[in-house]
C-alpha cells in the first residue's frame, strides 16, 4: 500500500512540477516523463504485490465530506487493472516525449503533462477506491483531465467540437452513476463498498435490477457500448496519439472494471441481465466494426474497432451472467475469464495500434488512409509491429486476440449443449457475432494496413516520410512483444486469471462453488489453449521449412525484379492502385441500409468532362439521427424561456422588484 501511495504521490508531485515549470517546455517534459515513468514503475510493483498477497491490503482514513471516507483497497481485481493502467501509461509517456517535441513552441506542454499525470493517478484511484464519494470524485477528475488532453490541439474547430461531445457524453454517464450511488447508498445506509458487499446482495430482484441497469448505462457509456459510444469516434481521432492509446487502451476499461465491481456487490442475477448484456454486446460488436470498415481516418477506424472490442468483452460478461443465472458456474467462469483476458489483450494491442497510428501521423503528417502507401519501405519495423497488432485485433492465431475470443467461444459452445437446459439462442448469437465481427475486422484492418504500408506511396509527403525515432518505436516494439507473449503464453495467462478470480468474492456465488467452477473451466479450456499454442509453434516450424525449401529451389536460378503485372501495361503508377475507399466499397454498399454513407459523385453532363472528384463520408448514425435530434428537440422546447431572458438590465431589475414585492406580500399574508 505504501508503494501505491508513493506512486500516486510521485505522479501528483510531478504533475505539479510540470505545471509550474510551464515556461520551459523542456523542463516540463522532463519532469512529466520522469514522474510518469517513476510513478508507473512504483505502481506496477505495488500492483504485482497486490496480485501475489492473499489478503488484500487496504487503507481507510476519515474524511470530513459527508458519507465520504478515503478508503482504498488493492485486491486482485484492482491490481490487475492497475498493472494495465501503469504499463500503458508509462509506455505512453516515453512515447509522448518525442511525440510532443514538435509542439513545444506552440502548445502549453507544462499543463498537458500535468493533466497526463493527473489522468494516470485518477485512473489508478478509480480502480482502488472503496467509497462512493471518493469513487465519483476521482471518476470526475479522470473525465476532466482526459477532456483537457483531448483538446490539446484546441485551435482546430473539429477538436473543440469533439471535446464538447466527449464532455457531454461522459457527464451523462456520470449522471446515471450518481443515481446508482444514491440508490445503492440509501439501501446500504452508507457509501462504503464494504457495506455494499454485505447489503446489496440481499436486495429484492426489482431493486437490484434497477441498480444493474443504472450501472450498465453509467459504466457502459464510459466503456463505449453501442449506442452510448458516440464520443469515442469523435474524441479518439483528435487526441494526441498516446492519449488516444491511454483512453482507448485503459480508460474505457475502467467502465468494464466498474461493471464487474458492481456485479460482485449485486446478488443473484436475473436471467434478463445476461440477455440484455449479450444483446448490447452483439450490437456493439457488429455495429462497431461495421462502422469501422468505411472510415478514411485511421484513428477513427481504430476508435470504432474499440467499440467492437468492448462489445466482445460485453459478450463475455453477458455469457458469465447467463451462466450465473442458470446455475451453470463453468459458463460463468469461462465467460468472465474470457472477458478479462480480452480486457488485457485489447489494452495491449489497441495501444500498440494507436501508438502506431501516431507514429504514422508523425512521419507522414496525415491520417487519411487514401493518401498513404508503401510505408513498409520507409519504416519496416513500424510495419512489422503494426502488422502484429492487426493480426491480434482480427483474432487470428497464434496471437492473443484468438485466445480470449476462443474462451468466449468455448463458453458459448458449452452453454448450448443440449443437456444444459438453457435456451441456446443467446449462445448462437454470441458465436455468430464473434465470427461475423472477425470477418469484418479483417476487411477493415487489411484495408487500413494494405493502403498505409503496402503498394506505392500515393502522395509526395508519404513518399518522403522518414522512419519515426526510437522513443516512438521503442514503446510500440515493447507492446508488439507483449502481444506475441500473451498469445503464446495464453494457457498460463488463462490459469493466472482463474486463480485471480478465485480471490474476488462474488456475493451471488459462494466461493467454494466458484473454486469448483474455476477448476472445471480450467479442465475444459486449458487443453485446447495448449493446443492453440502448439499449433502456433507448428505453424512457425512449417513456415521455416518452406522458407528453407524455397531458398534451396531458387538458389542458382534467376529471380528477377520488374514492374507489377497490369495486363501488359508497362507503366503502372500509384494512382492506379486500389485505395481503401475502393477496397471497402462492396461492403459499404452491401450494408448501406445501416451505414448510410454520404456520397458525392461527379455528374457528367458534357462530352468533355472537367476534373471532378468523388468522396464518401460515413458519419455516426446514432449521433446524427439519435442524439443530435434529441438535443435539438431539447433546445427547441426550452427556447420558450428565451422570452424571459433577453439581456435587458431594466427588465431584470423589474423581475427582482416583482419578486421582492411578491415575497413581502406573501410573508405579510401568512398567519403568524
Amino acid at each position: 500500500m505504501v508503494l501505491f501511495l508513493a506512486a500516486i504521490a510521485v505522479l501528483l508531485l510531478s504533475s505539479f512540477g510540470a505545471f509550474v515549470s510551464h515556461k520551459s517546455p523542456r523542463l516540463a517534459t522532463g519532469l512529466g516523463v520522469t514522474g510518469a515513468v517513476l510513478g508507473c514503475s512504483l505502481g506496477i510493483a505495488a500492483a504485482i504485490r497486490g496480485l501475489l498477497v492473499h489478503s488484500p491490503e487496504s487503507i481507510s482514513l476519515a474524511w470530513t465530506i459527508p458519507y465520504g471516507s478515503f478508503s482504498l483497497q488493492l485486491d486482485a481485481l484492482s491490481s490487475l487493472f492497475l498493472i494495465l493502467i501503469f504499463t500503458i501509461s508509462g509506455l505512453g509517456s516515453i512515447y509522448g516525449a518525442e511525440y510532443f517535441a514538435p509542439h513545444a513552441k506552440t502548445r502549453p506542454l507544462g499543463s498537458t503533462w500535468a493533466f497526463y499525470n493527473i489522468l494516470i493517478a485518477s485512473m489508478a484511484l478509480v480502480v482502488t477506491a472503496r467509497n462512493g464519494v471518493l469513487f465519483l470524485m476521482v471518476w470526475e477528475i479522470m473525465a476532466l483531465s482526459s477532456f483537457f488532453l483531448v483538446i490539446f490541439d484546441r485551435e482546430r474547430d473539429r477538436v473543440r467540437h469533439a471535446g464538447l461531445i466527449y464532455l457531454v457524453a461522459t457527464h451523462l454517464g456520470t449522471a446515471f452513476l450518481l443515481t446508482f450511488f444514491i440508490i445503492a447508498g440509501s439501501h446500504a445506509q452508507s457509501l462504503d463498498f464494504d457495506r455494499f458487499e454485505s447489503v446489496l446482495g440481499t436486495l429484492p430482484p426489482a431493486s437490484s435490477g434497477l441498480l444493474f441497469v443504472l450501472a450498465l448505462i453509467g459504466f457502459g457509456s464510459k466503456a463505449g457500448f453501442m449506442p452510448f459510444h458516440v464520443w469515442l469516434p469523435e474524441a479518439h481521432p483528435v487526441a494526441p496519439s498516446h492519449v488516444s492509446a491511454l483512453m482507448s487502451g485503459v480508460m474505457i476499461k475502467t467502465g468494464i472494471y466498474g461493471l464487474i465491481r458492481t456485479l460482485t456487490f449485486l446478488g443473484e442475477p436475473s436471467p434478463w441481465w445476461g440477455l440484455s448484456l449479450v444483446t448490447i454486446g452483439i450490437i456493439s460488436t457488429i455495429g462497431g466494426i461495421l462502422f469501422a470498415v468505411p472510415q478514411h481516418d485511421l484513428k477513427r477506424l481504430l476508435a470504432y474497432s474499440s467499440v467492437e472490442n468492448i462489445g466482445i468483452i460485453g459478450l463475455g460478461l453477458g455469457l458469465a451472467l447467463i451462466g450465473a443465472a442458470h446455475g451453470s458456474s463453468i459458463i460463468f467462469a469461462l465467460g468472465l475469464a474470457g472477458a478479462i483476458f480480452h480486457v488485457i489483450n485489447h489494452s495491449v494491442y489497441k495501444s500498440l495500434l494507436f501508438l502506431g497510428a501516431g507514429a504514422i501521423l508523425h512521419t507522414t503528417g496525415t491520417l487519411q488512409l487514401d493518401r498513404m502507401g508503401g510505408l513498409i519501405k520507409r519504416s519496416p519495423y513500424l510495419a512489422l509491429a503494426f502488422f502484429i497488432g492487426v493480426l491480434a485485433i482480427c483474432g487470428l492465431p497464434p496471437l492473443n486476440g484468438m485466445a480470449s475470443e476462443f474462451l468466449i467461444y468455448m463458453g458459448s459452445l458449452n452453454g448450448g449443449m443440449p443437456l444444459k437446459a438453457i435456451s441456446p439462442i443467446p449462445f448462437i448469437g454470441i458465436i455468430i457475432a464473434l465470427s461475423f465481427a472477425g470477418g469484418l475486422a479483417m476487411i477493415a484492418f487489411t484495408s487500413a494496413f494494405g493502403t498505409v504500408f503496402l503498394g506505392t506511396p500515393r502522395t509526395e509527403t508519404t513518399a518522403n516520410a522518414h522512419a519515426p525515432g526510437w522513443l516512438l518505436q521503442g514503446p510500440i516494439a515493447f507492446l508488439a512483444f507483449l502481444t506475441i507473449a500473451l498469445g503464446f503464453l495464453s494457457p498460463w495467462v488463462f490459469k493466472g486469471i482463474l486463480s485471480l478470480l478465485r480471490r474476488v468474492s462474488f456475493s451471488s456465488i459462494p466461493s467454494q462453488d466458484f473454486a469448483n467452477a474455476a477448476a472445471a473451466a480450467e479442465r475444459t479450456a486449458m487443453e485446447p489453449l495448449l493446443h492453440l499454442t502448439g499449433g502456433g509453434i507448428a505453424l512457425f516450424v512449417f513456415l521455416a521449412i518452406l522458407v528453407w525449401a524455397r531458398r534451396k529451389l531458387l538458389s542458382g536460378r534467376s529471380a528477377t525484379e520488374t514492374v507489377t503485372w497490369d495486363c501488359g501495361f508497362m507503366h503502372p503508377n500509384e494512382r492506379m492502385q486500389y485505395t481503401s475507399s475502393s477496397f471497402q466499397q462492396p461492403t459499404r454498399e452491401f450494408f448501406h441500409m445501416f451505414l448510410r454513407s454520404k456520397r458525392s459523385r461527379p455528374v457528367i453532363v458534357s462530352h468533355f468532362p472537367m476534373a471532378s472528384e468523388f468522396s464518401t463520408e460515413t458519419r455516426d448514425v446514432f449521433l446524427e439521427h439519435g442524439y443530435q435530434r434529441f438535443f435539438s428537440w431539447i433546445e427547441r422546447s426550452v427556447s420558450v424561456f428565451r422570452t424571459f431572458q433577453h439581456g435587458r438590465m431594466q427588465i431584470y431589475v423589474l423581475y427582482v422588484l416583482v419578486t421582492l414585492i411578491f415575497l413581502l406580500v406573501w410573508l405579510l399574508g401568512l398567519p403568524t
Binding site: 502507401g373 467461444y409 503496402l454 493446443h531 492502385q577
Partner: protein, 303 residues
C-alpha cells in the same frame, strides 16, 4: 497419435491435386472435349517448382510470405481434420473454431500479398474475397456449431464419429440442411462456379485467381498446391456430414472415402458445366442463403 491418422495426412497430400484433374476432366467431357490429362496439376506444380521467379519492384516481404503461409497453414489444418471415421492426428475441444480461424489467417496473408503489388486488379480480387468470406465464415461456424450441439461434443473428429446412419434416420432434415450450407461454403471458399470462375482469363471477373496474378515459379506452385489442399479440407467437412457409413476395414473405408471425394469433384465439375457464374452483387445473397440454411437447421434442432 496413431499411424492411421498420419495416413490421413499422407493421403491428402498425395491425392489433393488429383481432384483438380477430375474436375477439369468432367468439364471437358461435358463440353465434348478430350481435356487435359488427369495428372495435369501434378505436372504443373512440378514444372513451376523447377522455374525461377519474378518479383515486382513494388513488393516487400509480405508478397513472398503469402504463398508460404498459405501452404504452411493448409498443411497444419490437415493435421487437425479427420478422414472418414479415422480421427485427426491432433484433436481437442473446439478445434473447428481453430480451423476456421486458421483458414482466416491464410486468407489474410493471401490478401496482403495481393495488396503488396499495388495492382488494382489484385486489390479488386482481395476486396471481393474478404467481403464474401466474411459471410461464408459465419455460415461455416454456424453450421459446425449446430452440428456440434447435435453431436454433443466440440471436437471435429468426435463430431463426425457421431454422424451415423442412426443420426441420419432421426435428424435427417437437420443434416441435409447443414450439408447444403456447407456445400455452398465449399463452393465459395474454393473459388468455384457460381461464385468465381477459375477458367476465365479476364481479371475483372475473377476473385481468387486475380489475387495471385503476380506470383510465379515455386511461389505459384505452392499456391496451386495449397488451393488443392483447401479443396480437400472443405470437401472433407462436407463428406463427413453426408457419408455416415463405415465398414470397419481400414483400407476399404479409406478407399470408399477417397472415392467419395472424387465423386464430389465430379459434382463440382457438373455444377461448373451446367451453371454460369453469378453476378458479383448476387454473391453475398447466395452466401446469405448458406447462413439461412444453417439457421433453418439450427431452428429444427431447437425442437
Amino acid at each position: 497419435m496413431n499411424w492411421d491418422s498420419l495416413a490421413n495426412v499422407a493421403f491428402a497430400l498425395g491425392c489433393a491435386p488429383f481432384l483438380m484433374g477430375v474436375i477439369n476432366r468432367t468439364k471437358a467431357i461435358f463440353a465434348g472435349r478430350q481435356g487435359q490429362p488427369l495428372l495435369q496439376t501434378y505436372y504443373e506444380i512440378w514444372r513451376l517448382l523447377h522455374k525461377g521467379a519474378v518479383y515486382s519492384k513494388t513488393t516487400s516481404w509480405f508478397f513472398r510470405a503469402g504463398p508460404l503461409a498459405g501452404l504452411a497453414i493448409t498443411v497444419l489444418v490437415l493435421f487437425l481434420i479427420p478422414f472418414g471415421r479415422v480421427p485427426a492426428v491432433v484433436s481437442f475441444q473446439g478445434d473447428f473454431i481453430f480451423i476456421v480461424y486458421l483458414l482466416g489467417l491464410m486468407r489474410m496473408m493471401t490478401v496482403l500479398a495481393a495488396l503488396d503489388t499495388g495492382s488494382s486488379f489484385e486489390g479488386m480480387g482481395a476486396s471481393r474475397e474478404l467481403q464474401f468470406s466474411a459471410i461464408a465464415e459465419v455460415a461455416l461456424v454456424f453450421a459446425l456449431s449446430t452440428l456440434a450441439w447435435k453431436a454433443g461434443t466440440l471436437s471435429i473428429s468426435e463430431i463426425f464419429t457421431k454422424v451415423t446412419p442412426d443420426l441420419w434416420r432421426t435428424e435427417g432434415g437437420i443434416l441435409s440442411l447443414l450439408g447444403v450450407a456447407i456445400l455452398l461454403v465449399f463452393l465459395a471458399e474454393n473459388a468455384r462456379v457460381p461464385i468465381d470462375d477459375p477458367n476465365t482469363h479476364l481479371e475483372l471477373t475473377m476473385i481468387h485467381e486475380v489475387m495471385v496474378l503476380d506470383h510465379s515459379g515455386p511461389d505459384f506452385a505452392m499456391i496451386l498446391y495449397s488451393s488443392a489442399l483447401k479443396l480437400w479440407i472443405l470437401g472433407t467437412f462436407l463428406l463427413e456430414v453426408l457419408l455416415p457409413f463405415q465398414v470397419g476395414n481400414f483400407w476399404l473405408d479409406h478407399a470408399s472415402f477417397i472415392f467419395a471425394m472424387f465423386a464430389l469433384a465430379v459434382l463440382v465439375g457438373i455444377i461448373e458445366s451446367s451453371m454460369a457464374r453469378l453476378r458479383l452483387i448476387f454473391v453475398p445473397r447466395f452466401l446469405m442463403g448458406a447462413v439461412i440454411f444453417a439457421l433453418l437447421a439450427f431452428l429444427l434442432g431447437l425442437r
